[in-house]
Amino acid sequence: MKISIFRLVLLCLTSLIPVALLAILIFLTHYSWSAILFNGVHFLLGKTWSLGNLYANPVMVHGLSVPVGANYGILVFIMGTLVSSLIALLLAVPVSLGVAIFLAEGVPPGSRPVLSLIVELLAGVPSVVYGLWGFAVLIPFVAHHLAPDLAHLLGFIPFFAGPVGSGYGLLSSSLVLALMVVPVITATVSEALQGISREAKEAAYALGAMRFEVVWKAMLPMIRTSLIGAIILGLGRALGETMAVLMLSGGALNYLPNNIYSPISTMASFIASQLDSALGDPTGMAVRSLAEIALVLFLIAVIVNVIARLLTGGFGRAVHN
């Protein structure tokens, strides 16, 4: 069959989606190439991020011009990203499961739209507004109540022992991240729960199971794969979150978190906060190293999302709730 011009135009515009992804990969790699050469593996394993002496004459290292003493290691930000995301997931997964079960099976169908609207609205709140709320409400609450109480109650576990700090840090960031991840997981899980056939549920009831037992022992195991996919999808969201973390993390530089109240930086928040100072580097190596962080974050996000989408069976479920 002859392909019409109409179809050809649509095809060209459609290909922009894969082209965009490819362009991000190519241009970030290209731009950060000299940084990749200069930093080597040390980039991922080093704990020190230092722009070096920006006022002295740059030195040549392996044919690359860099400021004296420049050292770009992002282990602190990788750890900050991973630890804050994992704590957020630990908090968000049980809550999301509870909310999804509550909405899918626990409330009368008539009130379901109103209640699920609350979760949908939570997904719509912009990241920077979460940050503002965190600044105004959560930080004081964590600093004066939650952190001291936690340190008092769980202080025997090293990770929870004081000093409790200012409220800015890992705990506050993880709490807000959890709040932002809950709608993502809840949407996917309740979609999967609602997709379970009536017969399967009736079979469980026929065995004498109570309503909650049906959900917990029969329905949840059926959606295992979707559940894992949903959690990884949530992980992807938490890893890349920028503004709220930037406003609440305390912006740690050059040290790893030693307890749950420590200030942290994530890769995303660090990129967002550092361009101004990186631009002060006349050799451009700092800006290129930031591009390398963006590249690393891009690759992690792509891998995480590919796994999540393979498990949940597509995007339709995640968005079209």
């Binding site: 459609t14 241009f27 509870g98 509550f102």
Partner: protein, 289 residues
């Protein structure tokens, strides 16, 4: 009275299974409250402090250092959002139409999958990509065009997926009837499929609009910030936007800056919630087909 009398009877029937079940439901309810209370508190705090900071000046004055109004940011957000939709809507809708009408092959499967992946790319990565390519290499500097293209990259996969899903809901017989009459592909889509499927397409566009209004990270390195009204230049001219005010002004140690941040947050959240609610209502509208 009935319930009080039957209470002891009910308690007697609380065997371990019942107890576990009851506990389960209670925990699920608590989980819901753990989510609902922060949301209500966010709305309460932003509305209370936002309204307290309201004045006519917000809408008539531009930002002046850490005080003044928000006119530049309000118009900037409108310009950036409109720009993102102008660029993103044709591409997204075209991709959605292609995937739903002609997307049976392996290429479409890959595009669908990569569209999913693109929505998962952190927005700051998109922002830095645009910084590297448009702002630096192409020399556009902080500009409206760099900001809108970055936002468009974010929203295209959403619009494409919403378009595809709503077009797929149109019965196939209707298309076949059109083709049987010798109608061209473009007319079948425009005259038969779209008149039925438009609410879903519009929902995708509205949700994308809400995303554009609320985004910050992809704009910091592309749109920059400006205290002045936009002068109509697409490149080499930074532009202000509301979310920047929230992020940047709350870090200033001045009352006037905090007031502006809350006022900006109020405007953003009202806009986002109104657009979101409108989009959901549109989707739940009863259909004839």
């Amino acid at each position: 009275m009935q319930s009080i009398i039957s209470l002891p009877v009910r308690l007697q029937r609380l065997n371990p299974r019942r107890l576990v079940s009851l506990m389960g439901w209670i925990l699920c309810g608590i989980a819901f409250l753990l989510v609902a209370i922060p949301l209500l508190d966010i709305l309460y705090v932003i509305i209370k402090d936002g309204l307290a900071a309201f004045s006519v000046d917000l809408f008539t004055q531009v930002t002046n250092g850490i005080s003044g109004g928000l006119l530049n940011a309000i118009t900037g957000t409108l310009v950036l959002t409109a720009g993102a939709l102008i660029i993103g809507t044709p591409i997204g809708v075209a991709a959605g139409v292609y995937l739903s009408e002609f997307g049976h092959g392996g290429f479409s499967k890959i595009v669908r999958f990569l569209g999913d992946v693109l929505t998962g790319v952190p927005s700051i990565v998109l922002g830095y990509f645009s910084y590297v390519t448009m702002v630096v290499t192409l020399g556009w500097q902080f500009s409206v065009l760099a900001g809108t293209i970055t936002l468009a990259m974010m929203i295209v996969p959403y619009i494409a997926r919403f378009t595809e899903l709503s077009l797929l809901q149109v019965r196939h017989e209707l298309r076949e009837a059109g083709y049987a009459l010798g109608t061209s592909e473009i007319r079948v889509v425009a005259r038969i499929v779209f008149p039925i499927a438009w609410p879903g397409v519009l929902t995708g566009i509205l949700l994308s609009m809400a995303i554009s209004v609320g985004e910050t990270a992809p704009l910091i390195y592309t749109a920059g910030w400006s205290n002045y009204l936009w002068n109509g230049h697409l490149i080499r001219e930074p532009i202000g936007y509301l979310t920047y005010v929230i992020w940047s002004f709350i870090n200033q140690p001045f009352e006037s800056a905090h007031a502006l941040a809350f006022a900006a947050a109020f405007l953003v959240i009202v806009a986002v919630l109104l657009i979101n609610t409108g989009a959901r209502l549109l989707l739940k509208r009863p259909r004839n087909f």
